[in-house]
């Protein structure tokens, strides 16, 4: 048995609320669109040199962002390639086209959502909230150096058609 690192890595999920008045063909007073993180991305225990993937279908470990409001919103993700230490050591991360999904409600199926592209999402209060789901892969090194590793996930919101 090789090194065993216990790593439960949680990509902090995505804070915040993105913007107001984002709606197509509706009054400017329409309800703001919000994106609220509800669950982080947890890689759990990592073995040195063994990639660890969180599948988007893994309800316990995937990241989730709840969208609420009315109208359209365009979401894109600026996803880190690695967590870095000041000395330059890395814990690489990878996000793929099939690492994202959207869930309209608990009884509907997941719809694939590519986190590498801009995603246009329509929100309808009558249909409840929309959950954005995100998985990913971490690549711990065989001899992962000690240090402080940081990374940033940026969620960019824009109003469609501007």
């Amino acid at each position: 048995m090789g090194h065993r690192y216990s790593v439960a890595l949680v990509l902090a999920s995505l804070l915040a609320v993105l913007s107001g008045g984002r709606a197509l063909a509706q009054a400017p007073s329409a309800a703001p669109v919000e994106a609220i993180p509800s669950q982080g991305l947890a890689f759990g225990s990592l073995l040195p040199g063994v990639p660890e993937r969180v599948q988007v279908g893994d309800g316990a470990r995937r990241a989730e962002i709840v969208l609420r409001g009315q109208g359209w919103i365009e979401l894109s993700f600026m996803l880190p390639q690695a967590m870095l230490s000041p000395s330059g050591a890395r814990i690489p991360l990878r996000f793929q086209a099939n690492d994202g999904a959207m869930l309209r409600n608990s009884s509907s199926g997941m719809v694939t959502l590519n986190p590498l592209e801009t995603n246009r999402i329509h929100l309808n209060p009558g249909q409840g909230m929309v959950r954005i789901l995100l998985g990913g892969t971490a690549f711990p090194a065989q001899d992962q150096a000690a240090g402080r590793y940081t990374a940033t996930i940026v969620v960019v919101a824009t109003t469609p058609g501007t």
Partner: protein, 282 residues
């Protein structure tokens, strides 16, 4: 959160556990909103305002920066706004002359803040429309996310950026839209409609596209409507799904492009005559 001893004593002991970072797990998380959703500034006033509001339950640290970017599309009609610190050569960027007051702030829960955006280009700037984006970056409001265990520490910063379009206008603005190519194709049980459009005039075309799929019996079998921003050229693609058993021939697509955008400030979009047309579905 816990670490544990590694099985071999000569091995580096690294255990790191970052607890679920718990943003918004039990309570509502940070919630900064920005309005309006686009900013139109003329060369006489040289200023515009955005309203920032923290509707969350924690203070929000906010930073304002600028970038250049506008919607572009790929061969599939997928639209993307690529943000750049500096604009490519030849692009009408207003970014070098943009300033914001304040640039940094902490918004308390429930606090509203006026953000003033000032654009001061040289007086010799030629007439035309110039583009930029205000980026409102939020990074506060979250509980501590750095965890230490053994000799490895992990910190994951999460930021939200709201990118608001800015149009700076000098002189008389005109805009329009030309459909340079359009097609409607029957593919299995759906109709794919593709529009290639190009902006005319000097200002970005901020409008909408509406399309209807008309069946052989003259009835509307499907409708789409979407916002549209054409800064130079754009490809948009829409799909109409046909119900099982529906006829597969004799359809047409009616479309209209216009500049009706009630979601934007009334003085924002430059008006242009509607562009309409009909496509046979092949």
């Amino acid at each position: 959160m816990s670490g544990f001893r590694l099985p071999r004593p000569n091995l580096r002991r690294i255990s790191l556990f970052v607890a679920l970072l718990c943003l918004g797990l039990a309570t509502r998380a940070a919630a900064v909103t920005v309005s309006p959703s686009a900013l139109f500034i003329d060369s006489r006033s040289q200023t515009g305002t955005l309203i920032l509001f923290n509707g969350g339950t924690r203070p929000e640290e906010v930073e304002v920066t600028f970038a250049f970017g506008y919607p572009i599309s790929d061969a599939n009609g997928t639209v993307n706004v690529e943000l750049r610190d500096t604009a490519p050569a030849g692009e009408p960027s207003i970014v070098p002359w943009m300033r914001a007051f304040p640039r940094r702030m902490v918004l308390q829960p429930g606090q509203r803040q006026v953000l003033r955006v000032l654009v001061q280009p040289p007086a010799t700037l030629p007439e035309g429309e110039y583009w930029g984006r205000v980026l409102v970056r939020s990074r506060g409001g979250q509980p501590p996310i750095e965890q230490t265990s053994g000799d490895v520490r992990v910190q994951l910063n999460v930021e939200t950026v709201i990118a608001t379009a800015v149009m700076f206008r000098k002189g008389t603005m005109t805009t329009g839209l030309g459909v340079t190519a359009a097609s409607a194709e029957m593919k299995d049980d759906q109709v794919e409609v593709t529009f290639d459009v190009a902006r005319q005039g000097v200002a970005a075309y901020l409008g909408r596209v509406r399309a209807q799929l008309v069946g052989p019996d003259g009835r509307v079998a499907g409708e789409v409507e979407d916002a549209l921003a054409v800064y130079r050229t754009l490809r948009r693609r829409f799909v109409f799904a046909l119900p099982a058993g529906a006829l597969r021939t004799g359809y047409t697509v009616r479309y209209t492009f216009d500049t009706e955008r009630p979601d934007l400030p009334a003085t924002g979009p430059v008006k242009a005559p509607p562009v309409t047309g009909t496509l046979p579905v092949r």
